[in-house]
Structures are given as C-alpha cells and as structure tokens.
Symmetry: D2
Subunit: 344 residues, 4 copies
C-alpha cells in the first residue's frame, strides 16, 4: 500500500516538480497540498500557475490546497515533502516534526545543523541514523532530513567516487540554469545574451554542504570532511541543468583514467529513483551539455566528462538536472530511503 504524502509549498517551481514525480510514483500517494494562506481553499488548478512540461495530473488539479500548518494536514499522512522558501521553512517545518510528521525537505534552512542529516542516498545513506540523535535532542515524534542545494548535489557524487584518493583541495565553477532560482527568480532582461557571476549565498553552500556530506558519522557525532572547497557561481541562460567545472587535488596520485573508472563503478542504490549507473562518464570531450544530458536517468543521473590531468590534479566537468536530481527528485529519493530504513 502506498504511503500517503503531503507537499508543502506545492505551487512553487519545486512543488510542481514534486507533484510531477510523486503522481505516478507507486510507493507514494499525494494526500495533502499546502501553500500560502492566500491559496488555501482553492483547488490546486486555481492556486498554481502550472508550468512544468507535462499536464497537471487531473486528481491533483481538483485537490483543495490548505494553509501550511500541521493542523490542516490529515493525520494519516506519513511523509511530508517540503519545498518552502527557507525563511518559511525555518518557521513551519519544526512544527510538522513536533506533530509527528517525517519531513523530507529541500529547503535550505537547518541544513548545516549538527543533528539534521543532510543526505544524498548514494553518497551518505548512513548519515540517516543521525535521526536518532535528532529525536533525542529535539524530542520530536517526527523527523527531519534535508537534501543539499542543487549545485552541491551536482558535484558531490563525483567527489564521493574519488574519496579513496584523499580529497584535499577542490575548485568548482558553476554554470547554473535559471530554474534554480524559481519561476520568477531571474528576469529575462537580466539573463538573455548575458551571464551573472553571482548567486547570493550559493558559494558558501557548495563549500560547506559538500564537507558535511562527505563527513563521517560515528553513531553519535558527525565530523565534516577536511578537504577545502572554493566555489564560484554563475547564472547562465539555460532553462534546466547545472554544469560545473571541477579541479581536484588529492593526496594520492590520480590519473584521468583512474578517476573515470572510479566514477563509472561508483554504485547506485536499489531505490526506485536511484539510476543505474549513477554517474554517466562521457568519452566525448564536449559533453556533458545541459540540454543534451540533463534527462539522463530520468533526470536523476550525474553526468561527467572532460576528465584530464591539469597542472594541479584532476580536472573534469559534471552536470545534473537541477530541479530533479538537484531538488524535487532529491527529496523523493530521500523519502524512498526513509521508507527503506523504516522511518516511515
């Protein structure tokens, strides 16, 4: 029987992607949709300006949207997906956890908290057990797991494949799609025939979230990886798909061939949304490209290419679909992991 799920912030860009992914999902059944108070009481069709490239599922369209409040969500909902703006998330998500809901959240609030697992299942599924610590400390019946920022998710799986070589220094430049900023985040006048070398707060997310994700959890405490990461973030005129240039310096020698092999063999999981292979490594030097490769693995694969030895260690490019693998799909995959690990 499918788990009944709710979506917080269901009308936004990530909320729409969540609905697109959850509607056909055999393990989950959409049972609650919340949005701002202004939308409460409307049908989802009325409340949302649907802009995903497949029609609104008919039953979702007729669902009545409620306010984002634990009291408005049916008790038989067992799992909550949250794609709220971080300020709203900070305010309302803890209330859902207190009320007993398990929350898989894409919102950035709390991601770096010591007792909140920040998880990419193929990378650090074992961090999920931090939830025991979390429940002890916070006294929640529910639980909160976060997925990282879209630009972090894009490059961390490739680094995870290289940890055996001793990660030391990482430089990363991002070329990010406009959908990462939400539907109204980037105006057309800002970005057509242009690029913007700044995304507020983004560099810090890449630098800190990556070290938490690749850290070690000893059952009680989580230590962050001690590599150093320097990020430079750019917005470019693409719709979907974040492309990243990466340089990695490692303690041990690392050839391009060894890196390609490590990435190709890096395992995916036996979860519905985890693609096989997880990392698709291209031979062609001009790949991956956002429009060509963002839908690999139904948007859940990581694409890598251009592996070569640079003057300073390994150099390569990687790509992921920022609103699927980087946001909505990441939350759904964390939901699948929560289910498998018995938290639901």
């Amino acid at each position: 029987m499918a788990v009944r799920v709710g979506v917080l912030g269901a009308t936004g860009a990530v909320g729409q992607r969540l609905i697109q992914l959850l509607d056909p999902h055999p393990e989950f059944e959409i049972a609650a949709l919340t949005a701002s108070d202004a939308s409460a009481g409307k049908t989802y069709r009325q409340a949302s300006k649907w802009r995903v490239d497949s029609p609104i599922p008919e039953d979702v369209a007729e669902t009545t949207v409620t306010a984002t409040d634990p009291d408005e969500v049916p008790n038989d909902v067992d799992l909550i997906f949250s794609s709220l703006p971080s300020s709203v998330g900070a305010e309302v998500e803890p209330g859902f956890c207190e009320a007993g809901y398990v929350v898989s959240s894409n919102s950035s609030n709390g991601r770096m908290d010591d007792d909140i697992p920040l998880v990419i299942p193929e990378v650090n599924a074992d961090h999920l057990d931090l939830l025991e610590v979390q429940r002890d400390e916070r006294g929640w019946d529910g639980a909160m797991v976060k997925n990282p920022n879209c630009s972090t998710i894009t490059f961390v799986p490739t680094l995870a494949a290289l940890t055996d070589f001793g990660l030391e220094k990482v430089h990363v430049s991002t070329l990010q799609a406009v959908s990462g900023a939400g539907y109204d985040g980037v105006s057309s006048m800002e970005i057509i025939d242009n690029a913007i070398p700044y995304i507020g707060g983004e560099e810090d997310k890449l630098e800190t979230e990556s070290r938490k994700l690749l850290g070690e959890f000893d059952g009680a405490e989580l230590s962050h990886n001690d590599m150093s990461v320097a990020a430079s973030c750019n917005r470019i005129p693409t719709i979907d798909g974040h492309l990243e240039n990466v340089w990695v310096e490692t303690a041990d020698d690392l050839t391009a061939d060894a890196a390609a092999e490590a990435m190709r063999e890096y395992p995916s999981l036996d979860l519905r949304s985890s693609p096989e292979p997880l990392i698709h490594v291209f031979e062609e030097p001009d790949r991956p490209q956002p429009r060509m490769d963002r839908t690999l693995g139904d948007g859940m694969a990581i694409a890598a290419g251009g592996l070569q030895e640079s003057p300073f260690g390994l150099q390569y490019n990687c790509l992921a679909h920022n609103t699927i693998r980087g946001a909505a799909g990441a939350s759904v995959l964390n939901g699948e992991l929560l289910l498998e690990h018995g938290y639901i």
Copy 2:
C-alpha cells in the same frame, strides 16, 4: 597624415570589426582589403555578409577586394592587420613580412614562437623590441606582432596588476560568447538553452600565452613567467563578452582590497585605443556581466568584480569584449604601439 593600412581576411567576423574600428580611426586609412580567391574582384559589399551592428562605411563598401597575396596589396600600404584563420595565416603571413609589410595579427599561428612578440600594450609593450631579434633571425624587412587569444586577453591584465604579489597558481574558468567562434562557428541548435564545456585548443592558449605575456624580455631572449595556469573553457549563449572566474594563489599575502587597489591603479597607455582606466573594478558583487559591461571603454576596458579571499588565495571575475579588446581592437592597439615605437 594617416598610415595606409590593409586588412587580411576582411570579410570574416573579426575583419568586419577591424573595418568598423579602422574606418573612423584618425591615424589609419583603409587602403586594401583581402579575402579568399572566391571574393577577389568583388566589391566589399558584394563579398561580405556584413553583420556588425553599424552600417558598412560607404567607401569601404565600394572597395574592390583582392586575393590575400602581397603582390595584390599596394606598396604604399605600411601596416597590415590580419584576421585570417590560423591555417591560412601560417601560410601567407610570412610572405607579407618578407615583402616588407609590418603585420599586426590576430591569427593564432606563430603566437608562441620565440621571436614573435605576443603583445598586450598595457601589459608588455617592452616585448615589442623582440622584433629586432625577429628581423635578425628571419631576415624580414617587415615584421610580425601578434595579439593573444580573446580569452587570454580577458584575464591577463588583471594578473599583470598582481605580479608584485608573486603569482604562483592560477585557476580560470571561462564563459565565452559565441562570436568568439566566428559567424558560423556555433550553430543555434548547439547553444540555445545549453552550454558546451569544451572549446578545442582554448585551454592550452590560456595556459601558455599568459605565461609568455607575463614573461621577461632581457633584450635578447624572452623567458616565460613561471606561474602555473589551469583553464577550463565553456561556450555559453551570449553574443559578445567573455566572462571568467579566476583564483590566484600568490607568494605574498594578497587581500581583496589590495588586489582591487592594484587593479584600479594599473596604468593604461597614452594610445588612442587604450582606455582610462584600463581595469574597471566593480563594487557590486554581481558585476561584471557581459551584456551590461562589455562596451566599457568602447569595448577596450577590462572589467573586474567579485574580489574576495577564497580558501585558496584571491578569487574574482573579469570580463572583456572578445571581438573588440579580445581581437580586432587588440590588433588595432598593437598597430598604434608599432606606430608609436617607430616600426612604421
């Protein structure tokens, strides 16, 4: 009296920009236009598909195009600007030098030759005296000076401003406009809603040309700078203006403030096409941007911004107009330098 000049490869993208810049130039007078044999004998209007954003100068339009051959160019032409494809340049440029013409070339052939000065006037005007060595070795009556690749020109002036701090390691990611590949270089199907993390040969140009430009000329020999440079190059859907993310590690401590001051104070030259200031340093973290800032200093300024201390030294962004400062304007400026230094 204006110097009579010729343009080799006058119908291409850089050739058109050269004409746009040379036509109103008080020191130069267009006296010869060459193109492929197929165009020889036609008027320039017939031979070129003019696509620059100002009308063809009327007198240029009616000029008869000749083949790219020293015998076809009038003897009273004193300076040749070349924007030939590098394979053609390698074949025909030496003939012009032998025939006594001074050539300011944007073509990539020969840039790394020991006796060919690769010059950005504000950075290494003193390298021009390598022409004495060149004439000795090659027995040319003419001379050949090259300007670097467009992506090299964008970041080297900012590095030049920082040499006192002891340049050691440089990482650079480029976001390059489509005009850098010429009119037919990038098809629309390749680049709309996309980015391409590969430009053939480009990374090597950034890595090697920068070290030659920042090298020392002792009057006899040119030694290259011993910094190391690692480059990653991307094509994005912008028309003009290359944007670059740079990280610099230096021997001495380098704060963002000290770097900004060094860039702001880096001198321009008293040449017509050298802008004042040479480097425009933005305070706003989201600048420079290609569409907003590529025309600073009539397209000849370097824009920099986002200066900050990263985990590994200084981090910043820079931008230049790739077909003006990065190509046609670079050649014209070298022409002005040749004139000032008495080579014409």
Copy 3:
C-alpha cells in the same frame, strides 16, 4: 511481423528524429540507413553527429551506412523514409520508386506535382489513391507520397476543421524554431537576441501546399482548394515548435466557440502515430507556447488557442512540433497510412 524500412539521409536532423521514432516502433524495423558517399561504409555512430535528446539506439549505432542508391538497399526493404535535401531528393528518389520501393518522403521536391499525393493522414487520407494515377503515369512499381512542409502542417489541420464554414481568405504569420533549418541552418550569431523575418521559399510553401492539401480528389484528378492564403515567415530563437498566428475569413459566420468546437471534435485516425485528440484547444489565452506544448501527443498533436473574433473573421494561434509532427513524425504517419491502405 514488422515491415523492414530504410532511411535516406539518415545522419541529418530529420534523419535522426526518424531513427528515434522508428527504433521503438512495433510496425517498422530499421533495415537500411543511407547517407552521402562520404559516410558510406562507416557505422552510423561514426557517420552521424547524434544530437537528439535520447541516446543512439545501440543496434542502429553499429549499422553500416550505405550510399543513397537503390542498389545499396536490401531488396527485402519494403518502405523507404526520405529526409534528403530537396536537390538530392529530386535526383535520387525517383530511382527508388522505379526500383520498386514505396517512399514516404519529407523532402520538398515534387510536393506540388499533380500525381504525387501530399498527405496529412487526418486531413486528406483519400488523396493517397492518387498513387494509382501516379503508377499509371510514371510506370513505377514503387510509389511516392510526400508530407508537407513543417510550417504547413502546423496550421492546415486547424483549417481542415473549419472547411464546413467555407474558407475564403487566410493570413498566417509564423514564428519558427531553428531546428526547422537543420543542425547548421541557423548560426547562433544570427539568432540570439534576434528574429529573422524571412525564410527562403517558405511563404510559398504555406500558400500553395495548404490549397493542395485541402483540395478534392475525384479519383482521377486533384483540384486545389480555392481559398487564398498569405503567409509571412519568421525565424525566432526557439529550439523546437513552430507557432503561428492565423486569421481566417469564411463564407459563413464563424464564432470563436463554433471554431473551438469544430477543432476539438475534428477526428484523429486509428493509426499508431495519430494522437487523440488531434487538435488540443486551450482555454488559457497565452497558450499554446512552444516549450510548454510542443510535446503534446508525443509531439504529434496540434495545439490551438487564443480563438477570438477579429475585425476580419476568426483569429487564433496554433503550434506543432516541427521535427516530429512537422517532419519525421509526419513521414512515419504516412508510412502507417500506406501500410493500412495496403500499399506495402
């Protein structure tokens, strides 16, 4: 058992789409791929620069490409799909028909010939019987059917739905995607931040093909519809999907409501590639839009919207995926029709 098919011009943009559509098609099996002489003898992977947004089918990738010559195609191939440049098509397609092959061609040569059926199955399937006349006149064992130009296919089904009202005058402005010109047809420098109000020969195709498609076939001769059509064609910076503004003046009164009903009820066919509904009529005034709606009906539906009464009759917008419904899918659908009507 699946019909064995060949693809002429298999490496081009439409050829790649044909392979993408034919590979999973249960009624057809790809048995021959042809291209220019330069590609003959190579595997398809070597010969094509694959740029469709799904991977090359593995068995197709390893197929050896032959020259475009009837002698090079196995005899047990029963149906040929052609997406050759029209000049090449004019030269080689008749040879295939003489050699006994039935050809479903997307190439523009011969479309207006009196004895060549120009067919959109949902619009004028009965024109297919013109093949009897064709065989009589040309003495072919094979046969040739054409689908119209992509911009013609976009608006003709909507007109077909309105024929009962007496079509008299039609104005149509097109906003066409770059893929309509093939992979290298439109350079990025031509179209980024731009639009081009001219596509050579396109206006004439809309004006004449539409009248042939809506004409009557009496079993012996085809008379063209006597409506008048005036077209104005524009290229805009979209990848796929032609959008068209249409005004129709009819002999009888035609309200927007009646037109919407006629379009909604216009029947599709019981062929695999004919979508249900054929015409998707939007209520939202700002639809259809290329990126949102081009994949309706797997790219085979026609989308319409903005129906309103203008000062001069009915006004509306329509949209179709130009390389699926407008080209490769159109040829495949004609192949299905040929099969159903017993020509294969």
Copy 4:
C-alpha cells in the same frame, strides 16, 4: 537656456531610458526625479537598480528622489516626462496638469480620451492643438500629451506613408522584445526557448491607437481613421526591438515599389530626436532584424523591409526600438514638439 524637466517614475525601465536620453540633451535639464514613496529621500543611485547599458550620469546618481507628487517638484520645472504604471498615471498625472505642469507621458492611461492628443510628431503633429480643447474642457493650466504604445509606434509611421492609397484593412502580427514589459515583466523561465502568443491588452492598443493617430483634427474635434486593424501579439526572446509583419489592403492599387518610395520619402521633422530618414527601407529580404537594426537613427528610426505584393494587398515587415522610439524617445520627441509649438 535649457528647459528644466522632471521625470515621474524615474527608477523603472522607461525612466532609466528617459534619463539616458535627457542627460546629454541640450534643450532639457533634469531637475526632478520622482518614484514611489519607498524611494523618496534616497539618492537616485540608491533608489534605482540601474540596468541600462551606459553608466548612470554622475549628477543624476546623486540627485535625491522625491515622491510622485506635484508639491514635491520644484516650481521652475516646466516639463514633466511620465513613465508611470498606467494605474498610477491615471491617479497622479491629472494633478500635475492642474498644478500647471506640461506633461509628456508614456503611460497608457487616458490615451484614447477625446481631448488628449496622442502624438507621433512625424505623423500627426497637428493633433497637438487639441491641447486648446483640453484646457478649455479641463480648466488645466498645464497640459497632457501622450505617446502611443511601443507596438503601435512601430507600424503607424509606415501606414502614415501609405495613407494616400486609401488604407482599408490592416493585419499585423507582432514579435515583441521582453523589455517592453519592464525589468521584471517577463521571467526567464517563461521565455527562454519559447514564445508567448499573448500580451494582455496589447492587440486592442494596436487596433485603436492606430486609428486615432491617423485620424483628422478639424480644430475642434478629432475623428478617427476608418481603416480596420486586426492585431495578434507575441512575446519572443529578444531584449530590445519590436518586429512586425504587416498586410495592408488599400482602396487604390499599391505596388511594392510605390510603397517603398512612399516610405523612403516620408519626411522626418526638424526636431533633435527625429531621424533622417524617418523610415529606413531595406532591399535585403531578411531585414530588418531586431539586433541588427534597432539602433538605426540612434534608436529613433523605423526600419522596413520585405515589401511585396501578397494575395491580399501589400505585405511588409517593420521594426523599431521599443524602449527608445517606442517609449522614452517618443516622450522626449513629444517634449521637443511641445517646445517648438510654444507650449513650454
């Protein structure tokens, strides 16, 4: 001595263009800048997010912005340029006229009022005398003149050149740039790789404003032109420049040659911002194009091309820079006309 002018709504997209045009204007001197209450008291640099492609004029940057209220504007200001949102314009513009200010407004409110002159100086400068009627009726010391909508301005001058042939029916399809909607009007996710066949209220503006502009003023009353106009409006991914496809049916025969001649000879005015020629007629069938031709005549020219005889009268394309000729420049030109006609 320069006329002291104020700009209402100075921080918006058109407000910034107004400042860019007025700052170097020898007849006008910027003496007041107004914006929303939230901006009042700030310097212009603080209040505006400057996004025009030339730096903020230094003296403007330091000017203190006031609320949009006649009491906040110095009495010695003689002319007001208004680029307010229409709802705000409707509310506050009359107050400025009552307080004695002459207002040249780009806002759409009131454009179709019987006693408000809607003026393109080269087309209907004589309508300006409607101001006498206006003052009689409204008892204003000041006066109000409007310029039309950007998409109207683009095609009306070409129609004005053809009035002698007896305009009867006009069809027009527009391909409009995103800047027409203001800085945040069109999000990047809406328009990249897309087109939107709907701009709220725009079709009606083309259909009605054009008839008012080409109407006759007999000294007491203005009668509208009795041609019929049907418009279909599209937003496309270009930054600046509206392109329009036009069909005109006339009472008298009209050849493409006669139309081209009439357009070429249509006179400009002896006003600073009126370009010579007013209408630039291209021979090349693929022109005008937005990126290539929008800056003709410093953005104040009308470009036309593609003139041909269609099945229903004349067909052609036209183009104008929508934020210069179509908005800010239109208001400035009306200001110059007011000055010349002695209203200031």
